[in-house]
Amino acid sequence: MFMGDTYMVDVHLRGVVKRFGKTIALRGIDLDINDGEFVVLLGPSGCGKTTTLRIIAGLEKPTKGKVIFGNREVTYLPPRERNISMVFQSYAVWPHMTVYDNIAFPLKIKKVPKEEIDKRVKWAAELLQISELLNRYPHQLSGGQRQRVAVARAIVVEPQVLLMDEPLSNLDALLRVKMRSEIKKLQRRIKVTTIYVTHDQVEAMTMGDRIAVMSAGKIMQVGTPWEIYNKPANVFVAGFIGSPQMNFIDVTIEEAQDGINLISSDFTIKLPQEYISLLKDYVGKTMILGIRPEHMYPIGYVPASLQKKDKIKGIVDFVEALGSDTIIHLNTGSKIIVVKTSGTYRPKIGEELEIVIDLDKIHLFDKNTEKAII
């Protein structure tokens, strides 16, 4: 048990399909989660992330496919036989029971001896720093405290898999940041395999060991936060991760003498020779160029370490001064390109700017499949 030891399991989804009447919620989910890993299911509303979690929990049965814990198939097992716990968005802490009774309830149902219940409740309460709240009722607690009670209630049974369905979305921004790190630290401490659903990319990036980005019932990419950000597998992932969103520009690929030209309606970017082999199949075709706003720099703010670079020009259309950062909306003719730069830089609207692009950080996607080529 975790009161010191570890107790975990790996989770595998194999071709999971879920239909609700005519609506297809999941279109074949394959996912492997290692034991003790913190995996975040990330995606917009309606992408199927909560349905996936509920299928893992046993609250929904898949139309097709398998759910495997360790080497045991649990697809059609009721939740109580899966040794899982779940924290809901609404916390679901019972208002008519004290904090102590709430945390003790799952143990009571399992007929754990009273002394053992007491020991475990106190252990969970201490871990979540709510020991002094045990005699209170939920209505006497703040949102953050209720959240802690819900987590304590979930871990007290020492689940093999801990499932969390947007557990922080009802908290205010400051508390969310605090709880983010606390949940992550707690998971590291008790090493329980955790599957966490959120639509908040910051939560996903800061908490997940790996992130599964979902859209329209499919997993678009699974990877570490670094991979998801730096090597997005497709246009959807590239656009979903990062704020402000990545700039997408249609460009035609043209082979030049000493490299490759990316020709858009407003500007041309020149890539060095080494890209020729990567893009030879696309010469003459249209691709989608992706550049993150933070990978473009106004003159004077270009890092000295930047090696491969090119410039584009535009007129400042709009400026968002956020204090730490300045977001510049640059009109390049027919497109608005968003650039994120230092908060100390404040260009004037209407001013002409030259922007340096870090060519090491650009992305090129196939126009038809939207898959990343570079």
Partner: protein
């Protein structure tokens, strides 16, 4: 402030006229000997002395208590079971069932009671009479039970609708959490449903006590308190005392005892509400 009070005057006058005046009059007549025609004579507590020393009064109170205990349990349990089961029925079918269950409640009591009397409890041809070979309404030991069954038939569907509406308000994630934690259906009912509908449940139970001490129509239509005095309750006794025996003073005194019996659960309810208010 003064204008606000002026605005309240019509409503206050109306309440005074339809509630306070008759109530005070009843309390006043309870201390008099009055046949309804001549001038009432003040006799102090004489009516109460007579009532409390009459074994019939205590028999009648006991009938009310039996009636109350029946309605606190049988229809409530029936309604709770049905309302809980409605939770597992698809939404459209649930609406159909709820409507069907509500139909008896919207029928006139007179029609329902007469129908049951004729179809089920007729001393010769009643279906229940034939099945059990027993005239329930005509036998002193079963008359009250038979009337309670008629009342239950009309009442439980309404109760099930009220409980079902209360259950609809319960956040479904409470059940999902209990399900995940391994609770069975009974445990879910005990630990989620019942505590969550407790305010509604208590209100309906308290009102059941109040209504049980005021019950009149079902009994008066079916047996008028008979056979003998077997199904006599406070309201029928009060009515008969006042309008059959023309003892309006004593009838008023009986009416005030009914008010006292009905006030106890109301006081308990108000106390619970004020206590509950601190927790919600």
């Amino acid at each position: 402030m003064r204008n606000t009070f002026i605005m309240l005057i019509p409503a206050l006058l109306l309440i005074a006229f339809i509630m306070i005046v008759p109530s005070i009059s009843t309390i006043y007549y309870a201390f008099t000997s009055w046949n309804g025609f001549t001038k009432p004579t003040f006799i102090g507590l004489q009516n109460y002395r007579e009532i409390f020393s009459d074994s019939l009064f205590w028999k009648v109170v006991w009938n009310n208590i039996k009636w109350t205990l029946f309605f606190l349990t049988i229809p409530v349990i029936l309604a709770l079971i049905v309302a809980s089961e409605l939770n597992n029925v698809p939404q459209k079918a649930k609406g159909v069932f709820k409507t069907i269950f509500l139909i008896p409640y919207v029928l006139p009591t007179l029609a329902v009671t007469r129908l049951w009397q004729a179809v089920f409890f007729h001393p010769l041809h009643g279906i229940i009479t034939k099945i059990f070979n027993h005239d329930f309404l005509g036998t002193p030991s079963t008359a009250l039970l038979a009337i309670a069954i008629i009342n239950t038939w009309q009442w439980w569907g309404f109760l099930a609708n009220v409980f079902s509406a209360a259950m609809d308000q319960i956040d479904k994630t409470y059940y999902e959490l209990a399900h995940l934690e391994g609770a069975n259906r009974w445990q879910m009912f005990k630990y989620v449903t019942l505590p969550m509908i407790l305010p509604t449940f208590i209100f309906m139970e308290i009102m059941t006590v109040v209504w049980s001490f005021l019950v009149f129509d079902y009994i008066f239509i079916t047996t008028q308190g008979g056979p003998g005095r077997a199904s006599e309750v406070l309201a029928t006794l009060t009515y008969k005392t006042a309008f059959f025996y023309l003892k309006f003073g004593k009838g008023s005194a009986l009416a005030t005892t009914m008010i006292m019996f009905a006030s106890v659960p109301i006081a308990i309810y108000l106390r619970l509400v004020s206590k509950g208010g601190e927790r919600v």
